[in-house]
Symmetry: C2
DNA sequence: TTGACGCGTAGGAATTCTCCTACCTATCGT
DNA sequence: ACGATAGGTAGGAGAATTCCTACGCGTCAA
């Protein structure tokens, strides 16, 4: 139905602010589940569930290190979000109504 | 908590595939609610609800034309999604490990 | 004015989400 | 081996999501 293949799980994962914040925290580098949890006002099992959602969306990977579990960012699935977003870009830049936008459109 | 202000409603609106498809359809131009509905395998009240969600997220506007209601794309709120996505971009391009990515990073 | 049409709202059922409190497993230090 | 620590799973409550049917309101055409 849509032109670009999209993974529903990725968009669904981003719908929750806590999960978005996890991804932002992982921008700084891998982090243990417990350290991640310190940044949130929720119990650890709840965060653990969010981490599962992120894992199933392919947005993080888990790596066991002793009794810790290090989570790492896997940003690749986010690329399809920007791919999906791309056709809309010229619309929010329409306000500028510059020639470059029109040219970009033609190039597609 | 996060550096960039984000509108939860926009991410939540994009979580549903039907709503994403509505936005894609509106890329072609304004469309009446009924015509939009023809593209979906659901009853009109259900789509009407999706349109309400999109309206409240600021992603579409409604304009009455006789007994029709024309919906138009308002892409501007999507810009903050790409803004949010931007810090992740270099991570999915890391696989290329090219110099440009590193330079881009330094420039931020 | 009357009937058909376009489309939203009301209300409800089924499902999913998001949080919680237990609880279990595995690992580390002593 | 034993207690403490890290962190997942189980199960459940409450809220939100997503669909439905029924209905109401405004508009158009005759």
């Amino acid at each position: 139905m849509s032109g670009v293949p999209v993974n529903d799980d990725v968009f669904a994962a981003l719908a929750n602010p806590a999960r978005r914040e996890v991804l932002r925290l992982l921008l700084e580098g891998p982090m243990a589940a417990g350290e991640l949890a310190e940044h949130f006002d929720m119990r650890r099992p709840s965060l653990s569930e969010h981490l599962r959602v992120l894992r199933e969306a392919g947005l993080v990977t888990e790596q066991r290190a002793g009794r810790n579990r290090l989570y790492s960012l896997e940003a690749a699935p986010l690329e399809e979000v920007t791919t999906w977003l791309h056709p809309f870009e010229r619309f929010w830049r329409t306000k500028l109504t510059n020639l470059r936008d029109l040219l970009d459109e033609e190039d597609l």
